[in-house]
């Protein structure tokens, strides 16, 4: 629905009736809601309240402003200052009643709503929550419109918990309100909160017991010198024993469960060795308490449990935070999808698509559900699913799996599975993928810990059998000391904590590492390949020049079609043409406002152009080579133009589009070069343009390759050893999947963000260099922690084997080594600190 057409439906007053003087003086004004600067002409939306005129850039802003104003929440605008926060919000596409009513459907309730004391409870992921002002606005609005609904929003994750009375209030109305304010909502069922709180309680209890047992251990250490009475000593030992038992039984249960799992799956993990160390030391100490003989290790046992659990808690928090960001960034099924109902297409939440729904997908869309294609010859790529870099063709009545990315044409089809099913499966897959990619360090750390365990077990057994014949007690003592001191808890703390720290720091700066392996791989990268359009440049080219070779009246008939190109393609060229026509004063006056204008089917050829049939002529819009391939003559003086319009065999006109380089691109490129990376550009644009950009950015001409199709990009990428592909579009996504590390910039399309290993969340290319630095620092820290852990364990082993390991030494070494590793993991060079 175009802006111009939909105006008449809204109760706004037109410009003629008031403030004519103002209009004459001002040609530009700021949108009252998002503060974007907008041209002031007769199509600008206005509202006059209490003698004050407000201007709006779009109906979405107008709607949001109306709600905020009617609810008396105008102070929101004081909070948001220049409006830079509000402008990050996106207004939902024109939705009709059906798309909301599904929130009340039984299917939705079954999947996402759970009963609670106050009625019903659901979790929603709210996109666009950037600061407390957003939370304030949503909460106050909901409180005012629905007094009986309670809503709490977690600022860190953007996850809202809503409790409401199912009979009195409809969830659809609530979602609609939040939607109208400019935030998007996605159903979300995590159940993570309770699990999380359970973990935190365990960590708290473990630390509490550790501190107490340590203070009782003091009595033990002092007992040698100033003669603590035996009854006091025994008293303190029994207390330590009780506390340690609680620690092993409650927080320490995690180790039992993990060991059990590893036995079941026959894959050794780090928990087994830790558990063995803990248990052998525990039983030896218990024996000593009962027999009143010296040496108890309860302090070491509780310290191991507490510190390992703390490290893991921080790791899981960091991963969880990244994952929630990820879920809101790359929804498994991308928000709203066009679904046909009674002959009309409407936007429907993808997770609410039902079997048998007729859906329409635009070029570049990712399929939210498996569909049976009803259009002929659809091109799609499965690179997201299996990394295969080729395009597949599908004909009518064949099915295309969910997760496939569409090529250059829009298709229609029938859904063969429900959106909810696909959504939940994809979410689970997304989460598991992130978990599985543990990375090499985790792998080697686990291997080393297990290798160490076998060494330790063998040496413990040798020492034991050496002494067993003479003194069985001494044999057990030395064996236990070895098992305890060589317990791989430094490994168990070092790696998770370093990763957690690096990921959390990166996320605060706007860099999302999807997995630990992404961090590691980026550290090894030496080549960085950039896409041009949208990555190094702003990606929204503007039409700067136009030449018409025929009478303008001839063109008038297709102007409305050109203005609607953006609804048929996600490519930036058609979008900018639409934008140009809608905003050009001479051209937009010719836009037809009649609703029954018959729009022809528009087909897109990847990387070439698009065509449509209208009034029995074929119109083509595309690049020079494509146009020439139809035998159309283009004069030399027109060759500098980028996009050509033809009707059958006649050239109608040519357009020049220019795309500005991002302001910080030069700086970012220099930084990356000075940190030792080789830079290249790989673009689908012409060789000439690609090379001229390379010149501007001081990148070697030979390293700038133009005219590369998506498949060629993927082939070229494989020629590089360890390279990072920085891109933003569908045409880069295959190459990104093929490179060692894919990096998606801030405005990247959904397929690009999905195939990327790293997502840059802010519009700043310098963050790529920051990401490289963080990954390298992380790797260094990891190696240090690794070396230290290995050194400490071997040293401890020698001491324990030679019998020099007194409980005092063990008790001191154990926490000190763990804390040293923790310190290494969390100390960062100053230039990587948060800014």
């Amino acid at each position: 629905m175009s802006m111009v057409m939909s105006h008449s439906k809204l109760p706004f007053k037109n410009i003629e009736d008031q403030s004519l003087n103002k209009f004459i003086q001002k040609s530009k004004c700021a949108c009252s809601h998002c503060k974007t600067e907008i041209p002031l002409n007769n199509t600008t939306i206005q509202s006059i309240t209490e003698g004050e005129t407000n201007y709006f850039c779009c109906n979405g802003c107008f709607g949001a402003w109306n709600i905020i104003n009617d609810l008396g929440l105008q102070s929101f605008y004081q909070m948001t200052g220049d409006g830079s926060l509000v402008s990050s919000l996106q207004n939902s596409p024109e939705t009709n009643e059906n798309s909301y009513s599904i929130f009340d459907s039984d299917e939705f309730c079954k999947k996402f709503v759970s009963p609670s004391k106050e009625g019903s409870k659901a979790e929603l992921l709210i996109e666009g929550v950037t600061c407390y002002a957003c939370i304030w606005l949503i909460r106050r609005s909901v409180e005012k419109v629905f007094p009986d609904v309670s809503i709490s929003i977690n600022q860190a994750t953007g996850c809202a918990t809503i409790t409401w009375d199912h009979v009195a209030t409809k969830l659809s109305q609530l979602v609609k309100l939040i939607d109208k304010l400019g935030y998007k909502t996605l159903p979300h069922r995590e159940g993570k909160l309770e699990e999380d709180q359970g973990e935190l309680v365990k960590v708290g209890v473990a630390l509490f017991i550790m501190v107490n047992v340590m203070s009782f251990a003091l009595i033990e250490y002092l007992s040698g010198e100033d003669g603590v009475q035996t009854n006091i000593l025994q008293y303190s030992r029994w207390i330590s024993l009780t506390l340690a038992t609680v620690s092993i039984a409650w927080p320490g249960r995690t180790f039992f469960m993990a060991t059990l799992r590893s036995f079941k799956s026959m894959t050794p993990n780090i928990d087994g060795p830790i558990l063995l160390g803990i248990l052998s030391a525990y039983f030896f100490s218990c024996y000593n308490v009962v027999m009143a003989s010296p040496e108890i290790y309860f302090d070491s046992i509780t310290a191991i449990i507490a510190l390992v659990l703390t490290g893991r808690y921080f790791q899981s928090q960091a991963i969880y935070r990244n994952r929630t960001k990820l879920a809101s960034l790359i929804k498994p099924s991308d928000g709203y999808i066009l679904v046909e109902k009674n002959g009309l297409y409407s936007h429907v939440l993808a997770s609410l698509i039902q079997v048998g729904d007729k859906v329409k997908l635009l070029p570049g869309d990712m399929l939210p559900v498996t569909i049976r294609c009803s259009s002929n010859c659809a091109e799609y790529s499965l690179s997201e699913l299996n990394g295969e870099p080729s395009w597949k063709k599908s004909y009518a009545d064949e099915s295309i799996p969910s997760g496939a990315v569409l090529g250059g044409q829009s298709i229609e089809g029938i859904a063969t599975e429900s959106g909810v099913k696909s959504y939940t499966e994809n979410l689970a897959k997304l989460v598991n993928d992130a978990l599985d990619k543990k990375g090499q360090f985790q792998y080697w750390s686990d291997r080393a810990a297990i290798g160490l365990f076998y060494t330790v077990l063998t040496s413990a057994l040798i020492i034991f059998s050496l002494y067993a014949t003479n003194d069985i007690y001494e044999a057990v003592r030395r064996g236990v000391a070895i098992l305890l001191v060589a317990c791989p808890c430094t490994f168990a703390i070092g790696v998770p904590l370093t990763f957690a720290n690096a990921m959390a720091r990166a996320l605060n700066q706007g860099i999302l590492f999807k997995s630990q392996s992404a961090l590691e791989k980026l550290a090894r990268v030496t080549n960085i390949v950039f896409d041009k359009t949208g990555t190094l440049t702003k990606g929204s080219p503007t039409v700067t020049e136009s030449v018409w070779l025929v009478d303008q009246n001839l063109i008038s008939s297709i102007i409305p079609i050109l203005a609607h190109l953006d609804q048929h393609s996600n490519h930036h060229v058609p979008r900018s043409i639409s934008y140009w026509i809608k905003n050009d004063v001479n051209l937009n006056s010719r836009l037809t406002t009649s609703e029954d204008f018959a729009f022809p089917a528009i087909e897109e050829i990847q990387g070439q152009g698009l065509f449509f049939k209208f009034n029995s002529s074929t119109y083509r819009i595309g690049n020079i080579n494509w146009i020439r391939s139809f035998g159309i003559n283009v004069e030399t003086k027109l060759e500098m133009f980028q996009i050509f319009l033809t009707c059958d065999n006649a050239l109608l006109g040519a357009l020049e589009l220019q795309d500005e380089i991002r302001a910080e691109a030069m700086d970012a490129v220099n930084r990356l070069r000075s940190s030792g990376n080789k830079l290249s550009i790989l673009s689908g644009d012409t060789n000439e343009r690609t090379k001229s950009l390379a010149l501007k950015l001081d990148i070697g001409i030979c390293d700038a390759i133009g005219e590369a199709s998506p498949t060629e990009k993927a082939h070229k990428i494989r020629e590089f050893n360890s390279c990072a592909m920085v891109g933003n579009g569908l045409n880069d996504s295959v190459a990104m999947a093929q490179s060692s590390v894919g990096i998606a910039v801030s405005n990247a399309s959904n397929p690009a963000q999905t195939s990327a290993d790293i997502c840059i969340l802010r519009a700043n290319l310098k963050l790529i260099d920051q990401a490289v630095k963080i990954s390298r620092a992380c790797t260094t820290r990891m190696k240090m922690a690794f070396a230290f852990a290995a050194f400490y364990n071997l040293l401890g082993l020698c001491f324990a084997a030679s019998g020099m390991m007194s409980p005092l030494l063990a008790a001191i070494l154990m926490p000190i080594s763990s804390l040293t590793v923790a310190k290494i993991a969390t100390s960062w060079p100053n230039d990587l600190q948060e800014t």
């Binding site: 939370i135 304030w136 008293y235 303190s236």
Partner: protein
């Protein structure tokens, strides 16, 4: 030294209370969002103007 037999259990009762309070606070979700409550104080001063009845369906 015999005082320890009384003082230690006493200290446990004290520390145990703190532990129970910690567990209670965690279960109540006091630690789940550490960011927004801090900012909330700043935003509370914004007065809310009287409201009109609105219909979001319009």
């Amino acid at each position: 030294m015999e005082a320890l037999f009384v003082l230690v259990p006493l200290s446990f009762i004290l520390a145990g209370t703190a532990l129970v309070a910690f567990i209670w606070a965690t279960k109540k979700g006091q630690f789940s969002d550490l960011k927004s409550p801090g900012e909330q104080i700043i935003f509370d001063e914004y007065e809310v103007r009287p409201t009109k009845k609105i219909d979001i369906n319009k």
